[in-house]
Symmetry: C2
Subunit: 364 residues, 2 copies
Amino acid sequence: MKITTMPWVLALCLCLLLPFGSSANAAGKSTKNHVYEWKLAESWPEDLPIFGGAVDKLIKYSHELSGGRLKIMTYPKEHHGKAFGVLEMVRSQQFEMGHTASYYWKDKDINTLFFTTLPLGMIAPERYAWFYHGGGLELMQKAYEDHRVLAFPGGNTGNQMGGWFNREIKSLDDLKGLRMRVPGLAGEVMKELGVRTVNLPAGNLLDALESGTLDALEWVGPSLDLGMGFHRTARFYYTGWHEPGTELQFVVNRAAYNKLPEDLQNVLKAAMRLAAYDTYIESYHASIENLAVMQREYPNIQIRAFPTDVMRALRKETLKQLQTIADTGSPLTREILTSLQDYQRKARVWTRISDQAYLNNTGL
Amino acid sequence: MKITTMPWVLALCLCLLLPFGSSANAAGKSTKNHVYEWKLAESWPEDLPIFGGAVDKLIKYSHELSGGRLKIMTYPKEHHGKAFGVLEMVRSQQFEMGHTASYYWKDKDINTLFFTTLPLGMIAPERYAWFYHGGGLELMQKAYEDHRVLAFPGGNTGNQMGGWFNREIKSLDDLKGLRMRVPGLAGEVMKELGVRTVNLPAGNLLDALESGTLDALEWVGPSLDLGMGFHRTARFYYTGWHEPGTELQFVVNRAAYNKLPEDLQNVLKAAMRLAAYDTYIESYHASIENLAVMQREYPNIQIRAFPTDVMRALRKETLKQLQTIADTGSPLTREILTSLQDYQRKARVWTRISDQAYLNNTGL
């Protein structure tokens, strides 16, 4: 007897020492002691605040909630060199997932444009409500179906500022000939208003603004602008119109996702959702703190809103361009745009009598 | 050899069949197959929308993320009969946790007042930023230390409306003698402005408003007001001032929490945090939808903001009452209030130039 019981005890001890135990999943396949090692490609460089923080949060939550069974390793831009290749690298399973911004792929597939932000679009809580209760998340899956990825909210920057300007914009005329860094759809809108849009690498922007090569530029908001140093040279900081609630995206290779056991799919979904919300709040806080620093160190910064004629022209041109996108797009393009615009119209009625009315009525 | 290897295999099989595997936690105690069954007491009745939804989300996330090892059963008010006894029942471990609103305990312990909302206080994203980055969460633990519970954000209602009024408030004089249901600190402020505050059970409110026993009442906002039916009788719906971003609370018995293995503590914390954010967004959506329903069915509802003299008086009286609370409170009372007010002042500078400026500048 003695000689046969010993191995039982040893085997049991061995089991107890396995890092996270063992069991059979519903499909009868043992998965409980399998560690899934995933690689994530970021569209951003290593040291980018807030954006990189979203990925750190995802990694931490995935690790904690899976008992170490879902291990995500991140590869910022320096490692793969393709900020705008993230979707393709995730599609081809070079990476299981990515952290990026959906609107980067608009030239490849216009249907991906709408999930990050739109000029004159929704603010963060409106956009989250659309994603989670207004059909947005489902439409995002439809848009990404052919790209073989699933897409999820990846953190909101909050309302982005309209940009740093070396001179004041008093009317529409002041935009004529203005050399400004403003990419994307907003850039196309501003071009129609007479702005000469310029594209420069991030590292050259401050110099260009200082030397007058650029008259103006938009970046994000105090959360990221402080580190860029624009406040040390530009005098005017304009409030936003073009990215009112920019939501980043996690994209996940569908085949890789389907290989995860159900419990780890739930962990991944919860970790992404929590990282996204947390990033919105961290970004809000960083803007609060950094704006205070800017104003303390450079008390002469003038914060301005664009005058009414500029806002009217921006709205008119934005609507025109969205109409062209709808007219030249697929039925899905129109379905997404209609869903967004209908939801925004309804949502804004509430926002106007809740937070906006409160803020206006307590600004005495 | 053969006779001794068999038991190894059997032992290994046995291990694989354990429902969630076995392992040793840091303290060396096997916990991986133990199911923790927790009871949660709600301050709300069974059918209350949004509030009850926060608990449903908590239960779902806890279950999914723990592989069924953290099972939370909920007991709405009907089961224990003590809406305002939740803190005491959690303290005494009759329930491991509760879902409630911190400001219910202000008469028992003034330091608990500040964590739900304050008249003329922070809107939801400002408040979350304070909780998670401005020291709010740590101060909440300090305030609850003697009550032997941990406290966490439990879902935000968003900006609450100022209430339903049978007649228009054109100036401060119109508040004199007005019979209004408005509890808490806001009620005390309005009393000083001449309002006769009345308290009635929820079930009697609609009748009282219809019959004229009440001239006005505040409840939450469209998310919950629609179901109460106030819009069918009152003509004026006033925008908010007194609960600009009401955060509910999860309270957790500290001893019960400490008995959870570390991985389930992480699951519980993540589930509460996610349920809270989700509830904010669900509430935002419900207000959007319900406001649209109200306005469609009762197009004569007049939405109004209180006039400037009323807002000035509300602000003056609120600040006076907060000063009295600070003066008569403990050093911790003053620490919490100072933290809140300093953070709000700084946060509002950002809110004013981001979402508020955007909303104002796009309302052409």
